[in-house]
């Protein structure tokens, strides 16, 4: 492969800039009721991002009640003591703020982004939602109907259908086997009492609140202590669901009359806290996390013209999350594209990466780090993520060093340990007859290459997780913790996969 002299010449100057990006000053006090605060003053723009995460999320949905955490979470903004949903909306819109509540697989989130002058009102909105939501019966009925409608509407999106079927195939009835919004069957059965029970499980001791923006930390502390500190419920925890075992290799077809097959191939991956995480990030960058420089993109898009996009990702989740390769290709190419994905997984598993690929991945990941800290919203998201996963207070300072420490052997070991080409689950959404004609779903297709003896798949790894990403092409380090209430215009910034 031809090196660019331009690129090489400039790589030498990388360190100083990355260092200059620096880590934001952070304070991490704990409130008396157990809420962990993460506070940072950022004065570049007169705004404040407030984001509270309560651990649990859809992971704690009781069996048969999938979608409960999300329904409960969404209703937190639809009525608090003395305020109707409509009154809350007026308060939010009159400030021009954004305010949102909901759930991911791992947490319930209440967040607001406000102008700095509205800081206290923002914290107050968040605190009231956690402390004293009223769950009015008519709001409950409306939210439930709306969820059922959205679930039906999502049937018109082949990629969503594929993601849903893949999650189910991977995790089954165990936690994370269903998207956060649940399924038609489960949501139909939800009652207001279920919502009250879920809310009763939320506890300050399981909560972290990140506050980042143009306010002094002393004031952040004072306001948070006064408003969030007043939350002291008698929490009634929900039962943990039994984890699933790792599924066997198989292929599912979801029959749909579409022109393009939506394909997801993968397996259960790792938790965000896995000690191999940095090796996995580098490995995944080489495979399909590195945008146009990745192996999958080169073969399937650039050389084959088979797909508009293809990417691979490991979910950043508390418990082992999904590893998945996602692509869409015209129906007649489905088997070919699937075969290439399997070949590439096998190759990486058997041979690891090359010296040049390793160097390129490390250059990208270290050089890109300043872009993860270039706005108040991004800093808030990263700080919350560090706290939630316990990545260490020195995570930002040590990021580049940890990426640079990854060796070829590390990548090879990560590929052996975390890719299992003989145990892949595949979902294909498309016209069944056409897909079956290509052999998709037959033993020959899904059986995968012969098992590699040196890399036995874990017999029964705890199967739970959730990539909260609605984008099937989530990068390896999916921004698992985006601020709940990013401003309308600051949220959808296009990024390359692997950003």
């Amino acid at each position: 492969m031809k090196h660019s002299t331009l690129a090489l010449a400039l790589c030498a100057t990388l360190l100083p800039t990355a260092a200059r990006a620096g880590a934001p000053a952070v304070e991490r006090p704990k409130l008396d009721n157990g809420i962990q605060l993460v506070l940072s003053t950022q004065s570049s723009v007169p705004i404040v991002a407030i984001s509270c995460l309560v651990d649990g999320g859809a992971r704690l949905d009781p069996p048969g009640k999938e979608g409960l955490a999300e329904l409960t979470g969404s209703l937190l903004s639809d009525g608090t003591r003395g305020r109707t949903s409509e009154e809350i909306s007026k308060i939010v819109d009159s400030m021009g703020a954004s305010f949102s509540t909901g759930a991911s697989q791992d947490w319930v989130e209440v967040g607001a982004t406000v102008l700095a002058r509205d800081f206290e009102t923002g914290v107050d909105l968040v605190a009231r939602s956690l402390r004293e939501p009223t769950f009015p019966p008519d709001e409950f009925a409306r939210a439930k109907t709306e969820t059922l409608g959205s679930l039906q509407a999502s049937e018109d999106e082949p990629q969503v259908v594929a993601a849903r079927a893949f999650r189910k195939a991977l995790f089954g009835q165990a936690p994370y086997g269903t998207p956060v919004d649940g399924s038609l069957d489960s949501v139909k059965g939800l009652t207001r009492d279920d919502v009250l029970a879920y809310h009763a499980s939320l506890a300050p001791g399981k909560t972290l609140c990140a506050i980042v923006g143009d306010v002094e930390t002393a004031r952040m502390k004072e306001v948070a202590a006064r408003l969030l500190g007043a939350w002291s419920p008698q929490a009634k925890p929900l039962a943990q669901r039994a984890p699933a075992t790792s599924p066997t290799a198989r292929t599912l077809i979801v029959d749909r009359p579409v022109a393009q097959a939506s394909i997801v191939i993968g397996q259960i991956g790792v938790p965000r806290t896995d000690p191999d995480w940095f090796s996995i990030v580098v490995m995944n960058h080489v495979l399909g996390g590195g945008g146009f420089t990745s192996r999958l993109m080169k073969r399937i898009r650039t050389q084959g013209g088979l797909a508009y996009g293809v990417s691979s990702s490991f979910g950043a989740t508390r418990l082992p999350g999904p590893f998945q390769v996602v692509l869409q290709t015209k129906v007649p190419s489905a088997a070919e594209a699937s075969r290439i994905v399997r070949e590439e997984l096998q190759k990486l598993h058997d041979e690891g990466a090359t010296e040049e690929e390793l160097a390129a991945a490390k250059d990208y990941l270290t050089g890109n780090f300043p872009m993860k800290l270039d706005s108040t919203a991004k800093i808030a998201g990263l700080l919350a993520q560090m706290q939630y996963f316990g990545l260490g207070d020195d995570y930002i300072e040590r990021y580049a060093e940890r990426v640079r420490a990854v060796t070829l052997d590390d990548v090879k070991r990560a590929a052996r340990a975390h890719l299992h080409p003989d145990a892949l689950v595949q979902v294909v959404v498309g016209p069944r007859a056409d897909l079956e004609k290509q052999g998709i779903g037959s033993a020959a297709d899904a059986g995968a290459p012969a098992a590699s003896p040196e890399a036995p798949a874990p017999a029964a790894s705890p199967a739970r997780t959730a990539a909260p990403s609605s984008r099937p092409a989530a990068p390896a380090e999916a921004p698992a913790l985006e601020p709940a209430a990013a401003p309308a215009a600051g949220h959808d910034e296009p990024t390359s996969p692997g950003a």
């Binding site: 949903s85 909306s89 939010v92 819109d93 400030m95 145990a423 033993a443």
Partner: protein
């Protein structure tokens, strides 16, 4: 927004996003005091905006070419060219551009819309020169070869299947645009009609490239942590030697006056119907523009807006309902509304409810309180947008394409002058039946077969 080289989706959501980019803040300095503007002898415009919040720089190159500049039979050429811009130049091999940017820690991408094609990269500031050099190189240097062209044509067909053909709502909106505009090329899909994609030749592409990829048809926008004088010199140094080209041909199409309400239906396998309504409406150069912007806000901005409050929340007719106004299009475009009904709600009922909302404003002006709330939202949105260097660049580029970045500073003051009666007046003036085109997605049944599971006989773990 696009995650790969891609046309900006013509969805209501995407329109709303653009509209969420307002301007001029109460607290912040006006853009006219922050932006350094230069024009080179070859016609290249340069807009430089220092923003020192992080050691990062965003570079965007805007070409004044999109599906607006295309003709029937070869629609989609601008978007295809966007793809081919990553396929190598005389100096750099195919895909090398992306490799170099990645090696330097940057994120790169591009998008195409009706009005423009934009290339961009975000890098650590000490790497910005890499992107500027590569952009200058590919302004005139790309190599269009058969070998690279054919696979990329297939890629674009896949993109079309994904974005349009297998997306019932996008499919409806594509047809609706074609029905709304009789003559103006806004009737054409940015990605191109499927048959046109099959028929493009290398010569078509080369001609398009030679016509439009000239310094006198481009704007370089740079936002970030740099010194404007030094950055301007750098851009001038890299681009200055590229010769000026002929001025590209003007788009001469003028949309004829509407002749009466139009209605189309699109049949497609889908779970739920959808309705979208478009009225021809003037862009930001018309004095009614601020009132149209406020009208869209009253209808659709936030959960206190009329469409959410009444149709989604109170009456439970719609899963979503939206209004948006194409303020920053180069030529006059549309004011639109759309919505998806709750399951079981007849589409005619939602359509009627959307039109009733228009009728209500035609009959009685909105309240002062509503307008104040919308203005507060617009002002805050401007401040929030400052958090993103990329969006600051988008704001500059979008306005520059539409007729001048200095108009950014006029945005909030112009909204401040809008009265409730103005909003009522523009609703009466523009949202008339004769000016309206309605599109309805009529769902055909989907084969409701459940997933079929195949357990292979291979090794089991």
């Amino acid at each position: 927004m696009p995650s790969f080289r891609t046309p900006v989706a013509k969805s209501l959501a995407a329109l709303a996003l653009l509209l969420a980019l307002p301007a001029a803040a109460r607290a912040a300095k006006p853009y006219s005091e922050q932006v350094v503007e230069r024009t080179l002898d070859n016609g290249l415009e340069i807009l430089l905006l220092e923003d020192h919040k992080a050691p990062v720089t965003v570079v965007q190159v805007w070409y004044r070419v999109g599906s607006r500049n295309e003709t029937p039979g070869v629609t989609g050429l601008s978007h295809m060219l966007e793809h081919m811009m990553f396929k190598g130049t005389k100096a750099h091999g195919p895909e090398e551009y992306s490799k170099i940017i990645s090696r330097n820690g940057g994120n790169e991408n591009a998008f195409t819309s009706d009005d423009m094609t934009t290339y961009f990269a975000t890098l650590a500031s000490d790497r910005a020169a890499v992107e500027i050099e590569l952009e200058a190189d590919r302004m005139r240097g790309i190599q269009l070869t058969k070998e690279n062209f054919e696979p990329e044509r297939q890629v674009v067909m896949e993109e079309r299947r994904m974005r349009i053909d297998d997306n019932p709502i996008a499919f409806l909106l594509e047809t609706l645009n074609a029905a709304t505009f009789l003559e103006h090329p806004y009737r054409q899909p940015t990605i191109g009609w499927a048959k046109d994609i099959e028929g493009w030749t290398l010569e078509d592409l080369q001609r398009h490239y030679d016509l439009y990829y000239r310094p006198n048809n481009a704007v370089v926008v740079v936002v970030g942590d740099f010194d404007a004088k030094a950055m301007g010199d750098l851009v001038a140094g890299k681009f200055g030697g590229i010769p000026r080209g002929e001025d590209p041909p003007k788009v001469r199409a003028t949309e004829p006056a509407p002749r009466g309400a139009k209605r189309i239906e699109v049949e497609k396998p889908a779970k739920l119907p959808f309705v979208a309504i478009q009225w021809h409406a003037p862009n930001l150069h018309h004095p009614d523009s601020p009132a149209l912007e406020m009208l869209a806000g009253v209808l659709s901005n936030g959960k206190s807006s009329r469409l959410y409050r009444d149709l989604v929340h109170r009456d439970r007719l719609a899963l979503e309902a939206d209004a948006s106004y194409d303020r920053t299009s180069i030529d006059d475009k549309t004011f639109s509304m759309g919505g998806q009904p709750q399951p079981g709600v007849p589409i005619e009922k939602l359509e009627g409810a959307l039109l009733a909302q228009v009728e209500a404003i035609r009959k009685a002006p909105p309240t002062r309180e509503e307008l104040d709330r919308v203005r507060a939202q617009m002002e805050s949105a401007f401040t929030f947008a400052q958090d993103s260097m990329f969006y600051r660049g988008m704001l500059l580029g979008t306005y520059e394409m539409a007729g001048g970045w200095r108009q950014i500073d006029e945005y909030l003051p112009s909204l401040a002058k809008v009265t409730p009666e103005d909003v009522q007046r523009v609703a009466r003036q523009w949202l008339t039946p004769a000016n309206r085109t309605t599109g309805v997605l009529v769902p055909l049944p989907i084969d409701p077969s459940a997933p079929v599971e195949r357990v292979p006989s291979g090794p089991i773990h």
